[in-house]
């Protein structure tokens, strides 16, 4: 039996009931007296000069209260790090979907009607929509003045390449000289959308004193506060951001999208303004996952040992980089995989094109890199005639090894996940039929760092409050934090309440993301709760007649009572302890900040598929996922994250792609942008590999992002195993499989025994 009181147990989420009954309020549910509805006018062109905008007809439409263009907003560029995006397009549009004007009206229909009445004259400019073209000398420049932008890693002139990062270990020239065999290959991944259920929404109200209240579909209220204060040129104290339930984030809810427009229309109209993006707008102009082109080159010995590795990735950033907290993506570093390689060089390029701006999406850059690396590893294994598992095992990182980019990680648990996945799957077993296939892939991703604070209170009725600025965008962190409070105070979950409060009331929190909440918010919460526990013990010591210095040793707390370990019948309640100290509550505040992470998390996925060799249709039958999780605070929650990541990853592997023609999205609907449906979800077997020391409370590691990384290559490798088709470009559609089979001459040759009926 678990030694723990509240953690390590699968519990229902604390917000489940509110969500399923519809009681939970999201930003689009905010209704204010006199509130107006805003809509944006978007560019139809990938690249154009704005010659003239006439808003006269829109302004005279009854019900329209404000129309704004670039001249109504500050002439500044904003961004999370690299500041390159205007609030509204000024003189120039750089992608089809960019906002050029906005309208606030008494209702949504009137606002839309007014949008249609705005006349914009454009002069189309040559557009650069292909990332490789964009990198060439003499290419059309998306930003001529790039070198003057704030937040640019290294100022460079006359280029679309905003950033180039390099990781090296050893000497690749020497490594490749030593190699017996050298192989190289190129992989491509498309733009995919986060696919959250709730589209972006924002409401802004200007108060009588000029201060501003913001409701935002955002997982980082403090970041919204900071950006709004910066845009408005006011102190943080003049902006109050109120959190709501967030209907899914997956990295896409960290920025301000329509909040500044709402503000300037509220200013012009004197009324609060709400904007909610449509699904189509989400597909045309939010901040989806970057498309990538990845080139890999590996040197091996005849025995199959990796000796040299060279990787180059180009990420298509789209027209702006503003939506990324770091300009570059963590994925570049993952291009060395999870293997022991002495000589490594990785080059990452981030390129502007005239297409929709990309941002962060669940493990930014990692699924792209992992797809390329783990497919390539299977291809290498087959070149040296080794089983994909054995090849990986031979080269896998082990305890004490340096990472491919030279990081000294503590507690490398890769092989444990490989063994666990193999044990629980059908790896190595007899194939049930000819077109069944099985594939394996591994991934690594560290727990995220950051800063968070928590206030924990025990009231004089014995109940507890956790006051936090940490947001749960749907990950289950709200429940995790409650479990941590319950564990530290040894009170049942129904005795504690989490209060996610506004930025005026909560201590600072960096926001959810990067797999940091359980770690950072968890640590601040745990420490604050332990502090309150000490206060309870100290008060109890006085009442129960213990020497104050020995309270920790002589007194225990459980189920809301403090009692002597030597005689449990001598006890007082938490309420009595608070009152005995002459107080109405015990309270503690803790800030936890971490900048450096010296361990990481591993995962191995094994996918089993059935491929129809005539249509290329792939059915994912079963996925076995083993994750190095340290300690699962809410095992059901961890399994949920893994299952969700796998289903999302199946979309990335087989279905999802924002298709583009000349930079314009051609499938901006959920009918043609194919998310995985429940019917497509396979049987998923999860294995939580515990025991490795994690940085979080109770040694927990992160689980939010890594599940989405190894699934696509595991499926790609399984497809190859099934029908011999190696598709190196995602998504792996039936059409691409058929194309490869046709090229290899194996399509439509062999009579297929599939039975008479499907």
């Amino acid at each position: 039996m678990s030694e723990y009181y509240a953690v390590g147990k699968s519990v229902a989420r604390v917000d489940t009931l509110a969500k399923v009954t519809g009681e939970a309020d999201y930003t689009a549910d905010v209704m204010l007296p006199g509130m107006l509805y805003g809509k944006a006018l978007r560019s139809p062109h990938a690249h154009a000069r704005i010659v003239r905008i006439s808003t006269r007809r829109a302004e005279s439409l009854p019900g329209v209260k404000a129309v704004i263009t670039a001249k109504d907003v500050p002439d500044i560029l904003i961004g999370l790090k690299l500041q390159d995006i205007p609030i509204l397009a000024r003189d120039r549009v750089r992608f089809a979907g960019e906002k050029v004007a906005a309208v606030a009206a008494v209702d949504e229909e009137t606002a839309q009607e007014a949008i249609n009445l705005i006349e914009v004259e454009y002069e189309e400019l040559p557009a650069v929509t292909d990332m490789e073209e964009a990198m060439k000398e003499g290419a059309v420049l998306v930003h001529e003045n790039l070198h003057t932008y704030a937040g640019l890693p290294k100022p460079v002139k006359n280029t679309n390449t905003m950033a180039h990062e390099v990781y090296t270990k050893g000497d690749t020239a020497e490594g490749f000289a030593k190699a017996d065999l050298v192989f190289e290959h190129t992989f491509r991944t498309p733009i995919v959308h986060q696919g959250y259920l709730e589209p972006h929404a924002a409401v802004v109200e200007i108060n009588k004193d000029g201060s501003v209240t913001v409701w935002s579909s955002n997982k980082s209220p403090f970041r919204v506060r900071g950006l709004m204060a910066e845009i408005l040129g006011v102190p943080f104290t003049r902006i109050r951001v109120i959190p709501n339930f967030v209907g899914g984030d997956f990295g896409g809810k960290a920025l301000v999208i329509d909040e500044p427009l709402c503000y300037y229309m509220a200013l012009k109209s004197g009324r609060p303004v709400k904007m909610v993006m449509s699904r189509q707008e989400e597909f045309l102009a939010s901040s989806p996952r970057h498309a990538s082109i990845i080139h890999l080159k590996a040197g091996l010995t005849k025995a199959g040992e990796l000796v040299a590795w060279q990787a180059k990735v180009v990420f298509d950033s789209g027209a702006y980089a503003a939506y990324k907290p770091g300009v570059v993506l963590g994925g570049t570093k993952k291009l060395g995989g999870v293997y022991r390689i002495p000589h490594v060089r990785i080059d990452g390029y981030y390129v502007y094109t005239n297409t929709l701006p990309c941002g962060h999406c669940r493990a930014p850059g990692d699924p792209q890199a992992t797809f390329a690396v783990e497919c390539f590893v299977d291809m290498l294994a087959s070149q040296v005639r080794m089983d994909p598992f054995r090849f990986r095992w031979l080269n896998a990182l082990d305890k004490g090894d340096l990472s491919p980019t030279g990081d000294p990680w503590k507690g490398i648990n890769l092989k444990e996940t490989m063994t666990a996945a193999v044990e629980k799957s059908n790896w190595g077993k007899h194939k049930p039929n000819k077109h069944y296939g099985i594939g394996i892939a591994c991934a690594e991703r560290a727990t995220g760092t950051g800063e968070s604070s928590a206030v924990v209170i025990v009231n004089d009725d014995g109940s507890a409050n956790l006051i936090t600025g940490s947001m749960d965008p749907g990950t289950g962190s709200r429940t995790i934090l409650c479990q941590i409070v319950s564990e530290a105070l040894k009170i049942p979950m129904d005795r504690d309440t989490i209060n996610e409060v506004d930025t005026d009331s909560a201590p600072y929190d960096q926001g959810a993301g990067a797999g940091r909440t359980t770690f950072v918010a968890g640590q601040s919460t745990y420490r604050a709760a332990l502090d309150v526990r000490s206060q309870l013990l100290a008060s109890a010591a006085k009442v129960l007649g213990c020497p104050p210095g020995q309270a920790q040793e002589l007194i225990d707390a459980r189920d809301g009572f403090l009692f002597l370990l030597s005689d449990p019948s001598k006890k007082i309640s938490y309420a009595q302890a608070v009152k005995a100290a002459g107080k109405s509550q015990f309270m503690a505040q803790e800030t936890f900040s971490s900048k450096q992470m010296d361990d990481t998390c591993f995962a191995t996925h094994i996918a089993e598929v059935q491929v129809d060799p005539e249509t290329g249709v792939v059915e994912v039958l079963r996925v076995t996922a083993a994750h190095d999780i340290g300690f699962a605070i809410n095992p059901a929650g961890s399994e949920g994250q893994i299952e969700g990541g796998i289903v999302q990853g199946i979309g990335f592997a087989l279905l999802e792609e924002l298709q583009r023609a000349e930079g314009k999205v051609t499938n901006p609907t959920l009918a043609d942008y194919k998310l995985c449906t429940a019917a497509d979800a396979p049987k998923i077997v999860t294995v939580l590999v515990e025991g490795a020391p994690g940085a979080g409370p109770f040694q927990a590691k992160a689980i939010g992002e890594i599940p989405t990384c190894p699934i696509a290559p595991a499926i790609a490798n399984a497809i190859f195993d099934a029908v011999g088709a190696r598709v190196t470009e995602l998504p792996i559609t039936g059409e691409k499989i058929v194309e490869v089979l046709k090229k290899s001459g194996t399509f439509d040759r062999v009579p297929v025994a599939l039975g008479e009926e499907r």
Binding site: S278, T615, T669, A671, D672, K674, T677, A678, E756, E757
Partner: protein, 294 residues
């Protein structure tokens, strides 16, 4: 969005209204296409004429051995569940059960699916194969249009501005009929066909001679179409694998698919062959399994 909502309680009342408003009135049956067009695609209309209150249009009726009639309000779910349809037209059941998802099947009507005239309409290939006849009504009277003459192009039909589709008649078929509808999509639900193929095979007393073969295809041309040259190859023949292959090739040659976000022209042509072959074999197997008792 502002529009007038008309809710007639009888067909004559509806026909009066349609006669009065003509093209200005958009017909609402299940609404699964119209609502998307209005809410997402910016379709403006002055009048929405809802047929939903007309009980007399909501039926599936056997016509004393002559065939079956579907009222304009028969939903995909109702058709797929109907025992008469299940007994006689498994291809139509398969088509209706593969429309998008359960929720859409519960709301969307077969009649609406036809009138929307999408090249990808799932109900169209089986009804083409079945030589269904559509009754179009107006205050001027009624006319009966064979389904192969009904479609003119994407979202275009022979319906005049004052006409309403009243019912779809499916004539009774030969006793030893086997039929199927195969749909190719990227995922298992919520799909618009990359290719849809309906095939029916009719046998005489023996298991070998094909007395009739009918093939219809969706998402391969501006309208759902029959593959008549393909049909001709099998009609009256003793079946064998070569002929089935020849039929599939002929069907692909008759198709005029385009490349779009769902698939390229080339893939579609390949898949017509694959699906036609499979559907023909499956239809044949069903025909052989069907006794002569009817």
């Amino acid at each position: 969005m502002r529009f007038e909502l008309l809710q007639p309680r009888s067909l004559p009342e509806a026909l009066e209204m349609k006669g009065k408003y003509g093209d200005k009135a958009k017909l609402l049956a299940g609404g699964t296409d119209l609502m998307v067009l209005m809410k997402e695609r910016g379709l403006r209309t002055e009048v929405v004429l809802s047929l939903r209150g007309i009980r007399e249009l909501d039926f599936i009726r056997s016509q004393d051995g002559r065939g079956v009639t579907l009222g304009a309000l028969a939903t995909h779910s109702a058709v797929a569940r109907s025992s008469i349809i299940r007994k006689n037209f498994p291809d139509l059941v398969e088509a209706c059960a593969q429309v998008s998802c359960i929720q859409i099947q519960n709301l969307g009507t077969v009649g609406g699916n036809l009138c929307n005239a999408s090249p990808a309409a799932d109900a169209a290939p089986p009804l083409l194969v079945l030589d269904a006849v559509l009754t179009l009504a107006s205050t001027r009277g009624e006319r009966r249009v064979p389904i192969h003459e009904f479609f003119l192009g994407p979202r275009q039909t022979v319906l005049m501005s004052d006409e309403i589709l009243k019912e779809v008649f499916i004539p009774q078929t030969a006793d030893r009929r086997g039929a199927t509808y195969l749909k190719l999509g990227k995922r298992k639900a919520m799909e618009i066909a990359i290719i849809g193929i309906g095939v029916a095979i009719h046998l005489n007393g023996s298991d070998r001679e094909i007395t009739d073969c009918r093939i219809a295809m969706g998402s391969v041309a501006p309208t759902p179409v029959r593959a008549r040259q393909g049909e001709e190859i099998l009609r009256g023949q003793e079946v064998n694998d070569e002929l089935i292959e020849e039929t599939a090739v002929a069907a692909a040659e008759e198709a005029r698919p385009i490349s779009d976000v769902r698939g390229s022209r080339e893939y579609r042509l390949d898949m017509i062959r694959v699906l036609c072959r499979r559907a023909t074999r499956a239809a044949l197997a069903r025909a052989r399994g069907n006794g002569v008792e009817g």
